[in-house]
């Protein structure tokens, strides 16, 4: 507040680095944390190889998609507690339609499933916008609706995802060090980067950042929020399909555990739960971190109950470091 407009202009040039550090610092730090964890893992387990790397990418794939879905919604200033059930819905829809079909047919099915669950996500958004009920309540309620629908589609876990489809995620076609699951993850940047640069994507940030200013800037608030939920639905569908591919089965309870893990992942990935701030790249790294930690505990042979404690403490510490700045600045 201390500078006048006039004084500000010439000082700009020297501030670029500091600004970049502020703006992307968290993302860089998350990747650094991932790197440190990877190095630690390799020290703990010197024979860490392609198999283990493949394990990690497979485990991180659905979580990364779930976290991407949550990121979209949170950026727009909402929260989606129905990410898990949406994944389950995509998962069972895929099984019902792919059962006994070949790869090409199944890919067609996948597209339709993506569309259907994107629409379900859009419906989440539409209900929120039309009823003006807070996001957390609507998605809490719709989480039951999607879970019920999934059960209607498929009453019990059933195998039958075609092997060719499973191979899209399992295995590594290019090189043992480039698992297919890693290639599938490219869907995230392929959707994210164009969206981030488009006016529609800016509008999603805008509604999450400051609704009043967004409105005055001519942003259609309702539409932008629905869009955010739709893209969230799309990513959730990707997550559900990823589960289909990694497990080969359809299960009405698939995805249940990803709702809250996705919230941990996005916070760790630097997305502000208040909306409007953060990106998806850090979130992907966070999904890898959260998938790596249980593996490290197994490699170390740590009692899993301690593992759960340690994971909770780790999250607390990381988010507290974020808050530490505030504490120090105040004193």
């Amino acid at each position: 507040m201390a500078t006048t407009a006039v004084a500000e202009a010439p000082r700009m040039a020297g501030m670029r680095f500091g600004r970049a550090a502020r703006r992307y610092g968290w993302t860089v730090a998350v990747y650094a944390l991932l790197a440190v964890l990877m190095v630690t893992t390799i020290i703990i387990k010197p024979d860490y190889g392609a198999f283990e790397w493949n394990t990690l990418t497979l485990a991180a794939l659905p979580l990364a998609f779930a976290a991407a879905a949550q990121t979209m919604v949170v950026l727009s200033g909402g929260i989606d507690l129905s990410v898990g059930p949406l994944m389950a819905l995509a998962n069972v829809l895929a099984l019902r339609a792919m059962l006994g079909h070949d790869l090409n047919y199944s890919l067609g099915v996948a597209l339709i499933v993506l569309l259907e669950v994107t629409l379900a996500g859009a419906l989440n958004g539409a209900i929120i916008v039309l009823t003006r009920v807070p996001d957390i309540v609507v998605t809490l309620a719709t989480s039951f609706i999607w879970a019920g629908l999934a059960l209607l589609v498929l009453a019990k876990p059933t195998p039958g995802i075609p092997l060719d489809v499973q191979n899209l995620a399992q295995g590594s076609a290019l090189s043992p060090w480039v698992p297919n699951a890693l290639l599938l993850l490219l869907v995230v940047p392929l959707v994210w980067i164009p969206l981030r640069r488009s006016r529609a994507g800016l509008a999603i940030y805008a509604v999450g950042s400051d609704r009043n200013a967004a409105f005055r800037s001519g942003v259609n608030l309702g539409l932008s929020r629905v869009l955010a939920y739709s893209v969230g639905g799309f990513f959730a569908a990707c997550g559900g399909l990823a589960l289909s591919m990694t497990t080969g089965v359809g299960s009405p309870l698939a995805g249940t555990y990803y709702t809250l893990s996705a919230v941990s992942a996005i916070v760790l990935g630097g997305v502000s739960l208040a909306g409007g701030r953060g990106g998806i790249l850090g979130v992907v790294a966070a999904a890898y971190i959260l998938s790596l930690i249980p593996a490290v505990f197994i490699y170390l042979g740590i009692d899993p109950n301690y593992g759960q404690m340690i994971q909770g403490v780790l999250i607390v510490i990381v988010v507290m470091i974020g808050g530490l700045g505030a504490v120090l600045r105040r004193v």
């Binding site: 507690l81 009823t131 309620a141 999250i315 988010v319 808050g323 530490l324 505030a326």
Partner: protein, 319 residues
């Protein structure tokens, strides 16, 4: 809009609890339609009995939501308190109860430190603390497998006994607690400050309030209330296992929001939450008695919550 209509709208807005009670009555009516004769004194007594633990759990949640936060560790805390109480009870009932409650306060304090001092988002702080509590409880349970977790008679009686045939004993705990909270929120300094902190933390700072003290005390209070809820729940079902209250986490949030407390903080009442807890308990009852497939029940449960919240939001904010 006619003056009379305006007055009616005003009246309803100022007494939003009336809308909620009307919704509650409507749901009870639905049960009576599904199964004539089902709504009787016994039923009312059951509803109160099962709403009590949820209502107390949602009490802590209400306090936190009023300050603009959310506590996702309430259910873990309730479970931990109940389990520790039950497993320590063989060494003394009082000891069990005190230790159980202490666990609640301790976890609440840690949440409070994270939120108030380190400015961590409440959602992530309490989510992570939930993991810590559950992990610790599992470790404890393995260490404690040699002692038998048993719910002492006094807790069992508090959770599920009735007096005069129909009045649940837990009501004698819940009702005074509710009265204390309703009055306390409205007319104690602490209550005022909860609203103030939830409305505008910066403004309370300028008014000379040390916000961290308020938040810290609040999360501790929430932890305490969660622990109480856990003990009551253990009494209601006469057992304490390692996932006792987990099923009440989402309902505790739903009860608060259906009860008209703004998820963004700064407004709300515990009386609304009480009715919200009753509504959810009645809704469970509706679904038990309804003869449709479980999948349809889940869809109905979700749909009814959206409709309730939407109707409520519409009536109360006509702008």
């Amino acid at each position: 809009m006619s003056t009379r209509a305006v007055t009616t709208v005003r009246l309803v807005q100022q007494h939003s609890i009336l809308v909620l009670i009307a919704l509650l009555v409507a749901l009870a009516g639905l049960i009576e339609i599904i199964r004539p004769g089902a709504v009787n004194a016994n039923w009312v007594s059951n509803i109160l009995e099962f709403a009590a633990p949820l209502g107390i759990l949602a009490a802590g949640q209400t306090l936190v939501v009023i300050t603009g936060g959310i506590d996702l560790s309430v259910a873990n805390v309730a479970t931990a308190a109940a389990y520790i109480m039950a497993s320590q009870a063989p060494y003394g009932v009082t000891r069990g109860i005190v230790l159980g409650l202490l666990v609640g306060v301790a976890v609440g304090l840690v949440n409070g430190v994270g939120v108030a001092v380190f400015r961590v988002q409440p959602l992530i702080m309490t989510l992570a603390m939930g993991l810590v509590v559950t992990g610790s409880l599992n470790v404890y349970s393995q260490a404690a497998i040699r002692s038998v977790p048993g719910v002492p008679a006094v807790i069992h009686a508090m959770g599920s006994a009735t007096v005069l045939g129909y009045v649940p004993v837990s009501l004698f705990l819940w009702a005074p607690l509710a009265a204390l909270l309703i009055v306390g929120l409205r007319s104690t300094g602490f209550g005022r400050l909860l609203y103030a902190v939830g409305d505008n933390l910066e403004a309370t700072r300028l008014a000379g309030v040390r916000g961290w003290q308020v938040l810290l005390a609040n999360y501790a209070a929430c932890g305490f209330l969660s622990a109480v809820a856990g003990l009551v729940l253990a009494g209601t079902v006469n057992a304490a296992d390692l996932s006792l209250a987990n099923i009440l986490l989402l309902p505790s949030v739903a009860a608060v929001v259906i009860g008209g407390t703004s998820i963004f903080g700064g407004s709300g009442t515990y009386s609304g939450t009480v009715v919200g807890a009753l509504i959810l308990t009645v809704l469970n009852s509706v679904l038990t008695l309804l003869d449709v497939p479980d999948a349809v029940k889940q869809i109905l449960y979700g749909a009814i919550i959206v409709l309730l919240a939407a109707a409520y939001t519409r009536v109360l904010s006509p702008e």
